[in-house]
Amino acid sequence: MITDRRKALMGMVLIGVALALLPFLVGKGLGNSWVRVLDFALLYVMLALGLNIVVGFAGLLDLGYIAFYAVGAYLYALLASPHFGLHWPVWAVLPLGALVAGLFGVLLGAPTLRLRGDYLAIVTLGFGEIVRIFINNLNAPVNITNGPQGISQIDPVRIAGVPLSKTLEVFGIGFPSVYLYYYLFLALTLLIVFVSIRLEDSRIGRAWVAIREDEIAAKACGIDTRNVKLLAFAMGATFGGVAGGLFAGFQEFVSPESFGLMESIMVLCMVVLGGMGHIPGVILGGLLLAILPEALRHGAVPMQQAAFGRVLLDPESLRMLLFGLALIAVMLYRPAGLWPEARRKREFLAEKAK
């Protein structure tokens, strides 16, 4: 017993050390641009975990999830940039972003959650587009979002007065900006993982799964399906809002382009490919889909040049093409995802046997 616990503790410490050293290893081995890729991967993991609550746990297909990311990002941009001359601190903006995104989640969820699954997908898709169209156009007659140009010169994240946008020297070790953001994102990702795990085992989490499996039966068992579904929406939106705020602070620039339907679909891909409702699977999906396109960008262009003498497919469309094919292939051959939850796997097998 004690040795088991000690083993688990040892494992955790080892993983902790590995995660802490990762930016140095990656930075030295591949260059700091890859640490930046890691930062983005962590942001995507946060988003995927947020969407996992809605799609994976509660079984509500949300195709407009990126709208909440946009809300968080734009809130940060408006409250901490020269655009309105406001410079709120990050610890005020992030919770507010989470709250406002959560409110948007309720706002969208309240009228639409009575709908059946596939209708819900279309309405959320429409909602995502509405948010993007408004962000794109709210620069006249009153300039709120600065339209398609986006908002630049956003304040970087500052912790205890130290901006994360500059290299920090601690005991003679230099921490470049991308490393600092890595640690911040890692901390928040771990927090979100922790919250997700606790939610999964909670009364609410089990209610979500019950609704996903059979809404009518869940209702008959005394679950207030409407409120529980609303909660899933709000919770997922909150995670999206936090990730959005971090994105704005990290990039120091936001524009409507970052929040298109394809981004929503990319996050959905992460959840579906990884394994809907299974937290380790979703994390795997997020990391894979965030890092693979970068690898494609570095690998596909020289490879095509070597093979055909010119670039036939640009990496961006190759990436989307592979995403589309992967969505189809996974649904056909591994419907529960690459790393599915044990229970989910059984369900899909039972479904096949029928």
């Binding site: 799609v55 079984g59 297909l61 195709l63 009228p111 639409t112 009575r114 709908l115 059946r116 699954g117 596939d118 209708y119 997908a121 279309i122 309405v123 898709l125 429409g126 909602f127 587009e129 509405i130 169209i133 408004f134 156009n137 006249a140 007659p141 059979d214 809404e215 009518i216 039966a217 339907l261 679909i265 959905l268 579906v272 497919l313 469309s317 989307m320 093409l321 995403f323 589309g324 094919l325 992967a326 969505l327 189809i328 649904m331 056909l332 419907p335 899909f348 479904e351 096949k352 029928k354």
Partner: protein, 307 residues
């Protein structure tokens, strides 16, 4: 008043195109209970195929109308083959799977089609060659071109033909039976797979026609035109009551009118705060309003929730 009539005319033209696309959604939904997400992309492929053929023949001596007709006839089989393939590859294996599964493959199919179209036709907008007659006539101070008149008439004729097919023929009866209950229809000797394939073939043929019409009407086609068009047509289908054929036609025309009137007058209504670039938002608002207040649509029957 003139602008009002002009907006009505624009709305009717737009609406009849939406109606044709909406029929594709509604027929598939009626039979499979599935939103064929990739339908908008089939319309896009139809438009680009027709346009490619038309461009090839544009400099020949053939009269413009005939060239467009040839383009249309080329697009129809391409789209039909595509629709058939989509159903076989992405939907048929998942007929017994949970509802989310075919919806996700549908998204995958539409991404793949869009990217393939982009690789094949490039990122540029393709202009429709000016070979169609630009003549038109004036009604009450508003202008309608002959092309637009043909679009509306052709749409009406196709819809009438479809109604005849569904209500009067053996195939139509089998389709209605399958929509009612696939298992029982199968027991009665209907070959369900054939019927479902036929539904996709018909829907895709309509999509090809609609695609050609869109590119002729706006004189432009590009690889990402399908998504928004598909979404609006889906809205039209829901507005009319999804699964209901006359409903899809009504919904299409209504949505076209709402959009063109809305875009024409939103500036005046909001004191200039919102402009006509919000045109695309109307469809989504209509969709959300319908789903909230009358999810069964204008002409749909109330359906019990399927567990």
């Amino acid at each position: 008043m003139d602008t009002f009539i002009q907006q009505i005319i624009n709305g009717l033209v737009l609406g009849s195109i939406y109606a044709l696309v909406a029929l594709g959604y509604t027929m598939v939904y009626g039979i499979l209970g599935l939103i064929n997400f990739a339908h908008g992309e089939v319309v896009m492929i139809g438009a680009l195929t027709a346009l490619t053929v038309i461009k090839l023949l544009a400099n020949s001596d053939l009269p413009g109308t005939l060239v467009v007709l040839i383009g249309l006839l080329a697009a129809v089989p391409v789209c039909m083959a595509l629709g058939f393939a989509i159903e076989r590859i992405a939907y048929r294996p998942l007929r017994l799977a949970p509802r989310l599964a075919p919806l996700i493959t549908a998204i995958g199919v539409s991404i793949v089609l869009q990217q393939l179209a982009m690789i094949f036709w490039g990122r540029n907008y393709h202009a429709f060659p000016p070979i169609l007659p630009t003549s038109g006539r004036d009604i009450g101070g508003a202008h309608i071109t002959d092309v637009q008149i043909v679009i509306v008439l052709l749409a009406v004729a196709i819809m009438a033909g479809l109604m005849l097919l569904v209500n009067r023929t053996r195939l139509g009866r089998a389709m209605r039976a399958t929509a009612e209950n696939p298992q029982i229809a199968g027991l009665m000797g209907v070959n369900i797979n054939v019927i479902i394939s036929a539904t996709f073939l018909i829907g895709s043929a309509l999509a090809a026609v609609a695609g050609t019409m869109v590119s002729a009407n706006y004189a432009i086609a590009h690889y990402h035109m399908g998504f928004i068009l598909g979404l609006k047509a889906f809205t039209a289908a829901v507005l009319g009551g999804i699964g209901n054929l006359p409903g899809a036609m009504l919904g299409g025309v209504l949505l076209g009118l709402i959009e063109s009137l809305g875009a024409g007058y939103i500036g005046d209504l909001t004191g200039g705060f919102l402009g006509s670039h919000y045109q695309d938002v109307f469809a989504f608002f209509v969709l959300i309003l319908v789903l909230v207040f009358r999810p069964s649509g204008l002409m749909g029957e109330k359906v019990a929730e399927r567990a």
